[in-house]
């Protein structure tokens, strides 16, 4: 099958959806002429024209607020907020407006917008351009939060996100933009809320999101060499959360390790742990282990950022500790 980068897959999804549905449009800072801070929308202005993709002032609150208003009036905006760290300045439009519109209108209308955000570390962009923000939004009913880990999922999930009649936060990991993978041509959707078992196994369940899926797969490969069979689950969306897939896996493996790039404390891993400690308690053979960043802001210097970001070896260590715990 054809290979595309994650970036190209997203671009293809945007192009296809805009061509399919004349309610869909893209706006954000430097998305049109300059093709986006990460070149995701490069070329789309020429292909689609200035009414379907346009640049805005440096006003994230207005970008998302206006997307909400346009969505209420029947449009399907895809708003780009560049760095996920800027969620803080669009937070009100997301949390108090987009998420609650359908409910507060009593179901009469809804706010079908997508907010695209580039998240994560690894590019030496320091504390204000590297954060993983999903848990800031994970306690907000009405939102859908998607975190694609592969080019194929990026395309199928984004197309689904654009078609969903609800507001979607779409988190793209910066380090994934250049990764390649097989991507089907043309039309397909990946249903939002369906986790993907990226590697089957029966000794331990590793639940991961975004860039960490790849690290988890790497860890699983080295664990296999030690005779530990790890099942790697890519959540793909944290809301809806596919509890069934997680629980089914833990019932089989009896061991759970959760991995995300955000700090462990207060991160979404707690939710996954709580669901399992409630609904699959009887199947657990060992403590639940979480892997994530430490409790610090994100530092600039490479030596520090390396120390900050969760690594394959951290996952391996965590798995060994839970598998060892039940063995011991």
């Amino acid at each position: 099958m054809r290979e595309l980068t994650y970036r190209e897959a997203i671009r293809e999804a945007l192009r296809e959806e805009i061509q399919r549905d004349d309610r869909v449009f893209i706006m954000g800072e430097d998305v049109a002429v300059a093709g986006g801070a990460f070149n995701v929308t490069q070329g789309l202005l020429a292909e689609l024209g200035p009414e379907r993709i346009f640049d805005t002032p440096l006003s994230e609150s207005a970008i998302v607020g206006a997307a909400v208003g346009a969505a209420l009036m029947g449009m399907r905006p895809v708003a780009e907020v560049m760095f996920a760290d800027f969620t803080t300045i669009a937070m009100d439009a997301i949390v108090n407006h987009a998420a609650k519109m359908h409910y507060m209108y009593g179901g009469e209308v809804s706010a079908p917008l997508v907010v695209r955000l580039a998240y994560g570390g690894g590019m030496r962009f320091a504390a204000h351009h590297s954060q993983s923000v999903e848990s800031w939004l994970a306690n907000v009913p009405g939102l859908t939060i998607v975190m694609p880990a592969t080019p194929a999922d990026a395309k199928g999930l984004l197309k689904a996100a654009i078609r969903t009649p609800n507001p979607v936060i779409f988190l793209e990991h910066k380090l994934l933009y250049n990764t390649k993978g097989e991507v089907r041509e043309g039309e397909y959707l990946v249903p939002i809320g369906q986790a993907d078992i990226k590697r089957p196994g029966d000794g331990v369940t590793i639940v991961a999101t975004g860039l960490m899926v790849d690290r988890a797969l790497g860890a699983a490969r080295s664990l296999a060499r030690e005779g530990i069979s790890a099942e790697v689950i890519d959540l793909r969306s944290i809301q809806p959360l596919d509890e069934e897939t997680i629980l089914g896996s833990v019932e089989k493996t009896g061991h759970l390790v959760i991995v995300h790039e955000a700090p462990v404390r207060g991160g979404f891993g707690g939710e996954v742990a709580a669901v399992v400690a409630n609904k699959a308690f009887g199947y657990l053979d060992a403590p639940i282990q979480r892997v994530g960043a430490p409790w610090t802001p994100i530092p600039f210097s490479p030596t520090l950022e390396e120390a900050y970001l969760p690594k394959e070896s951290d996952i391996v260590t965590a798995v060994r500790s839970v598998v060892g715990a039940s063995a011991g």
Binding site: P57, M104, G106, I192, G193, Q194
Partner: protein, 336 residues
Amino acid sequence: MGYSDQLTEKDLIQMYRWMVLTRVFEDRICGLWGKGGVVELPHGSQGQEAIAVGACYGLRQQDHVMPSLRTRGAFLVKGISARVQMAGVYAKVTGPARGKATAHHMGDAERGVLLGSGIVGASITVAVGAALAFKLQRRDNVVVDFFGDGAAQRGDFHEGLNFAGVFKLPIIFVLENNGYSEYTPLSKHFAGSDFACRAQGYGFPGMRLDGNDIFAVYEAVQAAAARARAGEGPTLLECMTYRYRNHCEVQPPEAFRDPAEIEQWQAKDPIARMRAQLMQRGILTDALVSKITAEVEAEIDDAIQYAEESPFPAPEELYKDVYAPESPELVVGRRS
């Protein structure tokens, strides 16, 4: 006064009637507050009726309004019945969103009312987005966006107005300058001479006008709407007014302000003023005034009765409408 001159007698009486209806609605719920029944804390718009009514009168159905805290009149003129609003005030299932939202900021897509916001000022960017949709859809509708002097100090005012200016959107920003942001007087939250001048910094016209003069408001909004429909972009209208009640009913009207100030403004009452003008022109008579008052009182009585008799929502209503239903193609294979 081109637009006002074209108002028929019927129009004028109707406008007057809307203001009276607004006033009576507000007076009644303020009076009922604390005595049981009224669940929503009233934030009365008495004294500011000319703005909401003058701005909304003559709009098309698909022109949209974004309410502020003080736009009861806008809901009425746009066609949301006193019954539904009152049911909202009583938190009944017959009210907005079947009891899930307040009447204060209710939305009604059918009637061109955007859902307001409890986050003061945040509604401005949403209103701008509605205007953006009109532009993209090549529909010549306008958005009338109401907010107060307090809201004008929020970042969203700035981002919203600049955004609208850059894209020349069909929106009219109606700033209800009533001199207070809750209990804080203008002098304590604003050092400029007027808000109208801010429009210049966004590249569109702004003007200050007498918000207690319904004709001035009607005129200015109609002119701005014509501009907007012609693709000439936004307008900022700073309407000077005053609210007689306090920020909300937890404080008496005179708390933290000079009673003389209230009296001064009562002398400029927008309803009395229009009544006097229409009586002078022979359009209103004592008899007609009494008739209107009686009709309005009856309408509000009916609304209250309707609200009282309506049931509260059943608890299961809580769980409905968190997410809009998805088409089958989106859920294929989904387990969650």
